[in-house]
Amino acid sequence: MARAVTTQRKVIATAAAWTIGIAIFFPILWTVLTSFKTEAQAIADPPVWFGFDWTLENYEVVQERSNYFRFLMNSVIIAVGSTVLGLLIAIPSAWSMAFVPGKRTKDVLMWMLSTKMLPAVGVLFPIVLIARFLDLYDTHILLIVVLMLMNLPIIIWMLYTYFKEIPVDILEAARMDGASLRSEIIYVLTPMALPGIASTMLLNIILAWNEAFWTLNLTTTKAAPLTAFIASYSSPEGLFYAKLSAASTMAIAPILIMGWFSQKQLVRGLTFGAVK
């Protein structure tokens, strides 16, 4: 009896997991499929599933009309730049909060998290004004700094929880073994924190890559990343679903591939401490 119940439960859980998984994945699948259709097939009612004339025409048009690689390079520069800058600031901060906490450390952490609760649009106007004032509008440096600031609380929190997992005993053991602060950091702390730093970096690159609000509002042409590339296919041209889909597919492909290869790292990063 007990066995029957568990089997039944397993079946239900599996079915539910698949349903949710497919529901989440479906838009991406549909986008990819649509990108290979003609514009007519893309808006056909009832929709065509797989039995359409597969074509690369949309990709050709998109390639011809806009310089994909320029947008791609902008995305890479902004995502990697903001991540590296973020880590440079976050590692020492997380380090000090994890290993030399003060009276207000908890409050500081909560305050940083609370900044994520503010709607981004609430600070849009001042940031645009500042950007204009500093003559930084539509530049890489502006986006790198803004996206870094937006994601900084998350990076610090992730690193903080990682560093917290490193037993202080081990650091003390290194000190007893004659390690200087420098050796302690190079031979003991860094190797132990490396998986954490790596998954934080991966997650932050993804967050920065997908960020649309700031990238759309703070760029026009020069520094515009792939999000702007997709957006350029939506409204002004009327409804070209197939081309929009082709552009979207090209924009998400690099990050999707990166995510696929690093999923183990990412899952470990996001559930660290909870599962172990």
Binding site: A173, R175, D177, A179
Partner: protein
């Protein structure tokens, strides 16, 4: 060499005074055990000696050199942690070699010493494994290996056996004692287990609330405890205390008699009692008896009798303390000589 002197050393965390000023000298080659109930400051005292905590006042001298503000890395002491604190990303070999590497020793000498330590500690078969692949006992050996290779002037042990199961604990206890006999290096060992203290120590330091209650050899503490706390803490099962009239007969506020110093008879004796629980260990039997008409500090009196003695729950017995085995304490709990 490893002579460690604490001179009026004190420690407070914020407002909380954990260790009031305290003096202690640990001679070269001694095996000293800090023992006391949890929260008595024994681990803090060890960490002060290690340099992992800063003293709030006083001076620490290692071999007559002032080491009060010397960082832990420069004190020349080795420590074995309760959690073993091995480096999880390094093999056993690299773990043991780490202090040598930090000291900048040449590769050949490093290998020689690591191999020797591995042989002595039976770790040769696991030398290339990571700590995660080892059992608790093996991990503890690696931690000890890491401590001995660099030939420190003293070893500090912070409750090293409390994460091991009972059988292994006895083995490791013997191994550490053996190690001390071979190395003859100063060892400071922190434990809350008075059996470990009694069996391993040359000198026991009994601590309570950061205060040293008594310092002495295991037998000194057993035979002449300085106060009620030490009397009750050292010895297993613990000493029985009697107050009121019985104590007054001996001109004391409290008298103490150890379980092994009470004679039991079924027919006659000084104090009448009823047997409660009897624990049969084979060689000995511990009786927990309820005395009648005698004032005691606890509900039951513990008596150690021969394993052959057949007594059961509810039996009536008579207890008589052996001559010269009565400890007398005054109103303040101090021993009356």
């Amino acid at each position: 060499m490893g002579r460690i002197t604490l001179d009026k050393v004190s420690k407070s965390f914020g407002e909380v005074n954990v260790i009031p000023p305290l003096d202690l000298t640990i001679e070269d080659g001694e095996f000293v055990v800090f023992v006391g109930p949890s929260g008595c400051g024994k681990s803090t005292l060890l960490r002060l000696i290690a340099g992992l905590e800063d003293v709030s006042g006083g001076q620490i001298r290692i071999d007559s050199q002032d080491a009060t503000t010397t960082p832990p890395a420069k004190r020349g002491l080795a420590m074995v942690f309760q959690s073993y604190a091995l480096y999880p990303h390094m093999s056993v070999r690299k773990n043991i070699a780490f202090p040598l590497k930090m000291a900048g020793m040449d590769q050949a000498e490093q290998e020689k010493r690591v191999d020797y330590a591995a042989k002595v500690l039976n770790l040769a078969d696991y030398i290339d494994r990571r700590p995660g692949q080892l059992s608790g006992g093996q991990r503890q050996r690696v931690a000890i290996g890491r401590a001995i290779v660099r030939e420190p002037s003293a070893f500090l042990f912070d409750e090293p056996l409390s994460n091991l199961d009972a059988a292994l604990r006895v083995n490791m206890r013997l191994e550490i004692s053996e190690l001390h006999n071979n190395l003859k290096t100063t060892m400071i060992y922190v434990t809350h287990d008075q059996v470990e203290a009694m069996t391993m120590a040359d000198k026991i330091v009994v601590l309570q609330a950061g205060v040293i209650e008594q310092v002495g050899s295991p037998l000194e503490l057993y035979q002449t405890p300085r106060n009620l706390f030490v009397a009750g803490f050292i010895g297993s099962p613990k000493m029985n205390f009697f107050s009121g009239q019985e104590a007054a007969k001996h001109d004391a506020a409290t008298i103490g008699v150890r379980p092994e110093h009470l004679d039991v008879s079924t027919s006659e004796g000084l104090w009448k009692a009823k047997v409660g629980v009897a624990e049969h260990l084979g060689s000995d039997t511990f009786l927990y008896v309820h005395p009648e008409g005698v004032e005691t500090l606890e509900d039951t009196v513990t008596v150690r009798v021969d394993g052959e003695m057949a007594l059961r729950h509810g039996d009536e017995v008579w207890l008589t303390p052996q001559d010269g085995k009565i400890h007398r304490f005054d109103g303040a709990g101090l021993r009356i000589a």
